[in-house]
Symmetry: C2
Subunit: 221 residues, 2 copies
Amino acid sequence: MPLTYGIVLFRMFDVLDVMGPTEVLQFVSASFKTDIVYIAETMEPVTTRPTFPSMNPFNNSIYPLLPPTHTFETAPELDVLIIPGGPGWRNPSLNATLDYIRKTAPNVKQIITICTGAALAGRAGIMAGKKATTNKSSWPSAISANPNTTWIPNARWVEDYSSEPPTWSSSGVTAGLDLMLHWVEETYNKENATNIAKFMEHVRITDPSKDPFARNETVGV
Amino acid sequence: MPLTYGIVLFRMFDVLDVMGPTEVLQFVSASFKTDIVYIAETMEPVTTRPTFPSMNPFNNSIYPLLPPTHTFETAPELDVLIIPGGPGWRNPSLNATLDYIRKTAPNVKQIITICTGAALAGRAGIMAGKKATTNKSSWPSAISANPNTTWIPNARWVEDYSSEPPTWSSSGVTAGLDLMLHWVEETYNKENATNIAKFMEHVRITDPSKDPFARNETVGV
């Protein structure tokens, strides 16, 4: 059983991409030893706030902060590396984040990407030769950034076992809940997943090929 | 149009009850001036960690922190008061939180409760004579704590206009996304709600009477 999940944080992450898996795992933790670490470049709380004021034309203050528990230097060994998405995946100055992902990926038992987290993982170079999916609204930019991945356009989530570690990728935001509940079913037990979905009152999609937001084109190697 | 949304934080809140509305409103903020303030008893980051070590038998470290932006004393005037749920709603020592809710509720244009947030609002005394719904898994404890509310057992969400301010209450966790998207549709515009759901890849329930997690019994005054 995995013990330690690590979630990578970066500026302009998507909060639900992080908190969806967090909530599901928090329920798991009632029955199984489970730790989550939140890992970022520094210990400064990470914000969803856009990098440039021009991306916030109304000068809104609507951007929550999430304090990391570790930096890329102090993070413990992980069993599962979770890579969330969010508009920040396109940020040109993500070198430390990409380095951490690149360095950590070979040492974990499982990689999970949520939403455009697959595109960020791709930028780190760990998705080459794999099949994956991502947010269908961000499809063109995500796939053009990562031409060495086979992108599946009609999938709620995709499981790739072609190389170690296995890599699961979900479609946008809420699809991450379906991936995570399937993860619980496969890793812990089915009853646990059913109970968590019931408590969250989440109407699951349990068949990964059922994608209400599917695109038509298959793209990739 | 509402400008300022306030979300009340308390120990053992449910992260998705807070972050679901946050994410939806963050999308709204691309088109409309929108602020969120996170309000708690002190400026200390608020944790989802159980109050008693006995509630965390595996000694997990899986509990994210959320830094408030204001205390109950410094919070600005709100247009919309959002009350999330989570196991902490039952905490006996919530007097400051209940006082804040009780004092603030009459001055806002709208109250929104998510999940067992309705039970917390009930404890503050602002749900008497109203109809509401809440998490169906927490049904017995939520309704027995609030016998002066008419609890609707088969509703994804409930809208009560019987007294000012209008009070909307959602069922558990994910039902809060459906309530919030309906809120966007009614308050801003339908296209906005449709686009947000599409970006989040959230399969909406748009009819509040369609409740996949309905209970049978109607309870209340």
